[in-house]
Amino acid sequence: MDMNFTPEEIAFRDEVRGFLKDKLPEALAAKVKGGKRLLKADYELWHKRLNERGWLAWHWPVEQGGTGWTPIEKHIFEEECVAAGAPRVVPFGLNMLGPVLIKFGSDEQRAHYLPRILNGDDWWCQGYSEPGSGSDLASLKTKAVRDGDHYVVNGQKTWTTLGHFADWIFCLVRTDSDCKPQQGISFLLIDMKTPGITVRPIVTLDGEHEVNEVFFEDVRVPIGNLVGEENKGWTYAKYLLTYERTGIAGVAFAKSGLAHLKQVAAKQMKGRKPLAQDPLFASRVAQVEIDLMAMETFNLRTVSAAQHGGVPGVESSMLKIKGTEIRQEITDLLRRALGPYAAPFVPEGLDEGYNEPPIGPDYANPVASQYFNMRKVSIYGGSNEIQKNIVAKMMLGL
């Protein structure tokens, strides 16, 4: 039993901290921490800074331009980035498509797409979910039919995160309907500028535009854009989902959320005393802090097992469930901490350059919206109920 980082790992952490201090603009960190709206250029700037340092592709092998980091180094890096208020790295090209191309793509595809992902030339989005296929992803209906040296794609994808910024989309499409649903799916790369593609915003309950619907009408895609073999897409999709799920515990996000909650509770007043001193509220905060402490150790146990060669299995599902519950609880307490000032809805106040004085405390504006936005985390990436099914089957044999 040794719960400490090695001297090398501590040196790495210090190096990351130094980098963040030098290269993460203070104004950008303030935007992230203040819950302000980020521009496409903000994501692109941070992507570029990380690429310049060679710290962008954590999940790629060194020979493809990856970092070659150990699981613990990845953990440290993520933790430090979140603590410093760095924007998240848009994961679709880097953490999702990249590993799939590296494992299943052709040499040509790797040579063409991977450097462009690193350079930020292509913004990728993910074409998985459909209106009729949420948790039951394999039931997807978007069709690709061979026509000479093209596929003709018809159908609709939905919940496409930041699709309105994207140059390319990787899609699961149905290429065979006369078999088990999982066996007739292929993995296609589609240029968003191809005629027949329409992107429509979906405004979510917090009033924000982050996700989209993407419509395909007789969209012609060269057969060279097929990844791997036809009808093997489900295998690739599942491989990709294992990458989507790492880090989904969101320990670092929860920790920074909890720190923010404590700051707010120290400023909000109840009965002329800080809310943080109210026994009932303090015990609610203490409860989630205890759960988070335990989950952080749970997460480290999983990371450390991976470091020693273990393959995380159901632990990812368990961490996803617990991690999302904790993050939701923290945003719920933040919302409640504000009292009546949770109510004002001033979305323009989240934009850069908004100069009006805040309504209520300056930290109040994004809180209720973030609470509503955070309902998504127990739904996406395989809903928490799906994760429980996975654990029941894989670990318990039920």
Partner: protein, 378 residues
């Protein structure tokens, strides 16, 4: 970073596990628990020979461990068999206090504790103190060459069979002050000590102890007079870690029994485990057990840190174990249905121990409040 057990601890765990599997089946356990003495002297001696007591004490006093992870390793295995022998009062609390603060002659007694010959009890809590560690009214007054003790001690684990008893008493200060507490090592059969022993609902034994003009020499004092609070807090801290680990073992068994029941028991023509509502409840149990395990590991790893760091982790672990143990106890009975309500089946005895662990050293609410106070102070 490495969460694997060291080779020594793994070997200890394996030999303990084999011993309990061979010699401490559930029926034996229930027979022992129902006996007059409440434990088996013979098995106790064998456990001592296996090194179970020595593992929980440091080398300076003749043990070969004494770190948080040693306590955790031993207690988790004991929890898997819901062992009723007085390991907690003797090896963890009593021997821990002597190893921590005892005089040389008091420490010399530990040889007999490690070999299983001497049984101890830690008589600290009182009828009014609930889970407070400083609410002590038992008085000790200094005469010319003696101390004279008067007071009452509540629910003293192993109180009726211990050979020697460590008693806390107030030698100065008011009733709930941390300052002014002193520990004494007294013979259980000393004049003026009366003990009313009784069984506890989870299979062990305890006693109400009354001290009436109990005169002891100055050599009975453990550590510095009036300054015992930190010793008491650290002893209770080891006790918290020990019962958290014990609960992990007991929760694992309760979970495994429930899982096997769901896989084999058929209703409506299918195993119960086919019902999704039960699957999800099983998963929630497993998840909370992992959380409890994580919190206990964290606490074990922080036993040598500064007070705030250590006590925060201990209160976190005790709170989480309190909540998860209740969940596992209640859910495993519910998922078993009627059979889970019977005395002759093992599961409910695990559930009872899991529930009563919450009543030792502060329950989930107590430690939630304490955690909040500790984190506000830091």
């Amino acid at each position: 970073m490495d969460f694997n057990l060291s080779d020594d601890r793994r070997m200890l765990k394996e030999s303990l596990s084999r011993f309990l599997q061979d010699r401490y089946g559930f029926e034996t356990r229930n027979e022992i628990a129902g006996s007059e003495q409440g434990f088996s002297r013979e098995l106790w001696t064998q456990m001592a020979e296996l090194g179970l007591i020595g593992a929980m004490l440091p080398e300076e006093v003749g043990g070969f461990g004494g770190e948080g992870f040693d306590v955790m390793t031993v207690m988790e295995e004991l929890g898997r068999a819901i062992v009723v022998e007085p390991v907690l009062p003797t090896a963890v609390l009593g021997a821990g206090v002597l190893a921590d603060a005892g005089s040389n002659s008091q420490k010399a007694l530990l040889e007999k504790v490690i070999s299983g010959e001497l049984l101890l009890a830690f008589a600290h809590g009182e009828p009014q103190s609930r889970y407070s560690l400083s609410d002590i009214t038992c008085q000790a007054e200094k005469t010319d060459d003696n101390w004279v003790l008067d007071g009452q001690k509540a629910v003293v684990l192993n109180g009726d069979t211990a050979d020697k008893i460590i008693v806390s008493a107030r030698t100065s200060g008011t009733d709930d002050e941390e300052d002014g507490l002193t520990l004494f090592l007294i013979d259980a059969d000393a004049r003026g000590v009366s003990r009313r022993g009784y069984a506890t609902v989870d299979g062990g034994r305890a006693a109400e102890i009354t001290l009436e003009d109990v005169a002891v020499g100055v050599d009975a004092v453990i550590g510095e007079p009036g300054k015992a609070f930190p010793v008491i807090e650290e002893a209770i801290g080891r006790g918290i870690l020990a019962v958290c680990a014990e609960a992990l073992g007991a929760m694992d068994v309760a979970k495994d029994m429930t899982l096997e029941f769901l896989q084999t028991r058929k209703q409506f023509g299918v195993p119960l485990g086919k019902f999704q509502v039960l699957q999800h409840r099983m998963v929630e149990m497993c998840l909370e057990i992992e959380q409890a395990r994580s919190a206990t590991i964290l606490a074990a790893g922080r036993m040598k840190e500064d007070r705030a760091t250590r006590e925060t982790a201990l209160s976190a672990a005790k709170n989480l174990v309190g909540r998860s143990a209740r969940l596992v106890a209640e859910e495993s009975i519910q998922m078993h249905g009627g059979i889970g309500m019977t005395w002759e089946y093992a599961l409910p005895h695990f559930a009872k121990r899991l529930t009563m662990i919450d009543h030792l050293f502060g329950d989930a609410d107590h430690h939630l409040e304490r955690f909040a106070a500790l984190s506000q102070a830091s």
